[in-house]
Amino acid sequence: MPRVSLRLLMLQIGSVVLLLSTLLLSPQALAAGAPTITSFTPAWGPSGTVILVTGTNFTSSSVAQIGSANVQFTYVDPTQAYVSFGAGVSSGAIRIANAVAAARSERNFVVTPTSAPGTFAQPVITGLSPNSGAAGSVVTVTGTGFNDATQVWLGSSLSVAPTIVSSTRIDFTVPPDASTGRVIVVNLQRAALSTASFTVTAGGGTTGSTTGGTTTGTTTGGSTTGGSTGGSTGGTTGGTTTGGSTTGGSTTGGSTTGGTTTGGTTTGGTTTGGTTTGGSTTGGTTGGSGPIGATEAARFLTQATFGPKLSEINSLATATSFDPWLTQQRNVTPTLQLPYLQQREASGAQMVQAERINAWLQATITGPDQLRQRVAFALSEMLVVSENFGALNFDVKGLANYYDILIRNAFGNYRTLLEEVTLSPQMGLYLSMIRNQKPDPANGIRSDENYAREIMQLFTVGLNRLNLDGTPQRDANGKAIPTYNQAEVEGLARVFTGFGPGGGSGSFAFTVLDADRLRPMSAYQEFHDTNAKTIIGNTTIAAGQQALPELRQALDVLFNHPNVGPFVSQQLIRKLVTANPSPAYVQRVATVFNNNGSGVRGDLFAVTRAILTDIEARGGGLASNPSTFGKLREPVLRLTQMWRAFDASGAGGRFNYDNPQGAFIQAPLRAPSVFNFFRPDFAPTGAIANAGLVSPEFQVTDEASISTMINELNYLVGRYRSTANPQPNPSNVVFDFRSWETLAQNPPAMVDQLNLLLMSGQMPSAMRTELINYANQIPLSEGAAVRVSEVLYLLMTSPQYAVQR
């Protein structure tokens, strides 16, 4: 054991190795696993700044660095620590090491000369050296204004922890998933784009050896080295990779369906009962040895992504466990919105909200980090801010940055997420916490209660006390027990006082200056109420505290309330799997929220994994409660599922579909109010309400919205590439039906494929027959793609499709 630790340490943290002997003496340190850093705040500051770092496996004897300088480390608990530093420290990644290994932050912390540096330098890239290389090679970027750099991107891939050598030189490592593209250097406010592309070369010692396995083979195969991957891995993997994206149609379409899918789908999927439930139960529940199978893989991916692709289904179908996929999804580079927008802005694009929607569609349709994006979208419907609000109407980059908070923390800790959300200027503006100040009795001013009330009601504990399984606790008279009272709302309202525009100080900045939309709000102590407060659970907040530590204390109290586990878990289950989870299901997930198995509370990746791998999600619910299991598909997920299934794209990788909410009701951060597009507890009048159940999406499902959506689908299915028309109007998002044209000559096979992709093999046999008959009425002389388009319309508009289960 010590020898292993030593090797790891030497390999991974280099200069910290001197401290090894100290670390090894600590039994506590030995007990911990490898540390991770999920986030830190603030993102910049002068010497003397105290940085809150959040992650896992911190120990009391951990050590920290910024760049290459050793800095002060203050242990709080395994998930939180403070890092502070003095003079002589330069910008760089934050590193935290324990006895086992070291972790580096994805972003650099930026050391600034003062606490209000004004604007950060505009980075400019003048050269790349070399201008090509394989993953793992080091590239030197020359230019100016690199002192404040936080990230380096190669195309859409983030390079972990670049090294700022000087204000004119920054070095970065080519990420493993990178493909050829331009280099972007990002600081907190601006981005620089290289004029030349950096060419990622295939193979080389590094890629070859690391990507030997199946997982990365898929990635590289997809982007550049299609030929070699296909060749080497042959039948299984090669088929999977190329089937989806490149060569598709002719050979692989046939072989894949024949081999993997049809066995499961055609015979089974059609006769509802047999395959669907049968297949999934054995696949998921008994788990162990057998392969997952195509229909169960499709069902899982429908819950976990923005819609499965055939290649993904086939890949997962042969696996025997969901864990490798989940792990791969946890580790894949997040697709963030702000860096993309900054890149767009740098190349002259106007910052309009459509750019943000475009970034979201690109990420959800083509992003590799599907699970993270899906969870982030669910979080965006719980921790709501919205463009439909005066102060945020034109805050394009700020809202993108807010969404990035959700993306970055989707697999992080809920406590960290809560703090980043609380301090974000978008939430500050949306729920009027920014500029909230201590009571001013002489002028009859109270503290604003808005954020205090809603953070409790909507973001953490809810109105009534819950059991671990999400059911309400009752008093002796059978009445629900409120979690907090009005006096406690007023107390918490006074905690949330004294937060103003990020980076500023003084009365003028607090009361007048517009907030810097990309910086967390800062504390303005003179506006903070320092009297004692009573908050939820009759908890006392002591008098005389600084604003930020007090806010953190209050967030700790909220975060540790026993309601949070069941409250958050139930909502996430409703978003991903089923509207009416059994109390036992909620309890199992809430238990993981409370403790991920390593003593960490609020680990969202562990929660997501628990939701998706639970027996109720993996076939148990469908088998035992077929009348209630599942959920009405979220409207905009219909759009993304359809586009993903057929590799839809627009010119230049853009998705010019600016107002998804017009027909599909939802769009990221465009809810009508903090209560989201629909409430998690909505029940439509009739059978569902009468049974005491909920079906939230029905709040936005009515005659007007159904008609609008069906008519929009009628238009959308007509926009596609075919052999006859390979380059349709470049301003539209278009399906690619070319790889389906062979299949369309065989309507039963085509319908089965659609069934697998869009309905997880759950299509009733009568519907299958109807769709086959309809396809057969369309002569091939019109083009095989017409059959795909027409059948797709009927499927997507059918009630049989409408429920995800």
Partner: protein, 462 residues
Amino acid sequence: MNILKKATRRDVLRLGVQTAASSSMLATLGTYQRAMAAVDTRGYKALVCVFLYGGNDGFNLVVPRSSPAYNTYAASRRNLALAQNSLLAINPLTSDGNQYGLHPNCAGLQNLFESSRMAIVANTGTLIQPTTPAQFRAANVPLPPNLFSHADQSQQWQTSIPNSIQPQGWGGRIADLLNAQGYGNPNLATNISLNGSNIWQGGNNTIFYTLGENGAPVLYDYQYPGYRSGTRRASFDRLLQQATASTDGNLHFREYTRSVNRTIASSQYVNNALNAAPALTTVFPSSGIGNQLRLAARMISARSQLGLSRQLFFVGLNGFDQHDNHLSAHGGLLSQLSPALKAFYDATVEMGIQNSVTAFTASDFGRTLSSNGTGSVAGSDHGWGNHHLVIGGAVQGRRIYGSMPDLSLNGPNDAGSGRIVPTISTDQYSATLARWFGADDSDLDLLFPNLRNFSTRNLAFV
């Protein structure tokens, strides 16, 4: 007229089976003629709920303009106070010794009030029983659950059943009973929403029909039935029939299937009726609330074609939750609301049906009198009692009903921070509207279970 006379408690639970979902997909001549006959013999009435989402600040809608009441108001509201000389004077026939005015952006409402077409119902809110501030503070009387919470208070406004597990709106329960009395039309729900989903219109068995601001969009294959020689429409219909006849008992699936059937059944029916109805010349303001009320007026003008003699409409306006930037944002919303309500009333006059149509406001709650900030972040927080408006030819207008509260902080009506304890219950307010719509005294106890806790059962404003 007693619309509910045959209803019993059992009926309330049992009746109302005549939902649109169970109807045939196309109008039959017989149904249509039967509905027409109903219109002819039983007259017409419409009730229009105007929901001000987020909690309208009624204390800046109706404001004392004479001293010393104005001074009390200004001392409590501080930087949320409207200027005394900006108020639009109203001259109620009722008097409590003070003079009152309306918000300066409410010229249309001032006109309606002064011409006796509008009444103000003072300090109304959710209650279980009459409650004083002292009782509220001591918590020694039953109180509405989750006071000051948007979701819960707007639900109680719409249901009149505190903390109901299955929210059924009182508008929906009225429709249940109307249907049981033969007022329903199998082709179209009695309840029409112009503002999407709401609680007020959902009954035990009654489903409401939702129109977009621009009417009922017709499905492409129904608008162009000849597309692909009708083969796609035929397949679409067969898939829907399969879903409808399916033995698949999944509740989400069944509900969605019902919704699609209702969409198809009603959209053409409504469009045909709207196209055949007399055109309106009244000009509505071009705003969301203006468009909704215009469409409600058009649906009333099409009442003969629609074959409905009782209709309940729901319209909504969002954005009243002004914790920041209160004066400016509230003024902006009222400048949309006032002309839209005036135009709606004018349209009913144009149709000659103003005495049969009553519109009323509802909202989550009132707001705190006290302010929560300075400058642009001056706003108000969630309150309780609130002033409301009732508009129509049948309204005993130019009057203020109930008592205007003392607006002093920590005064006799204050629960704290200027959260004014209501002196009229939403049950009394809503029951008065239901009575006008045709419910008799015994029906009201079924619709409003807590009404019996209040001595005045009829506020007689309409």
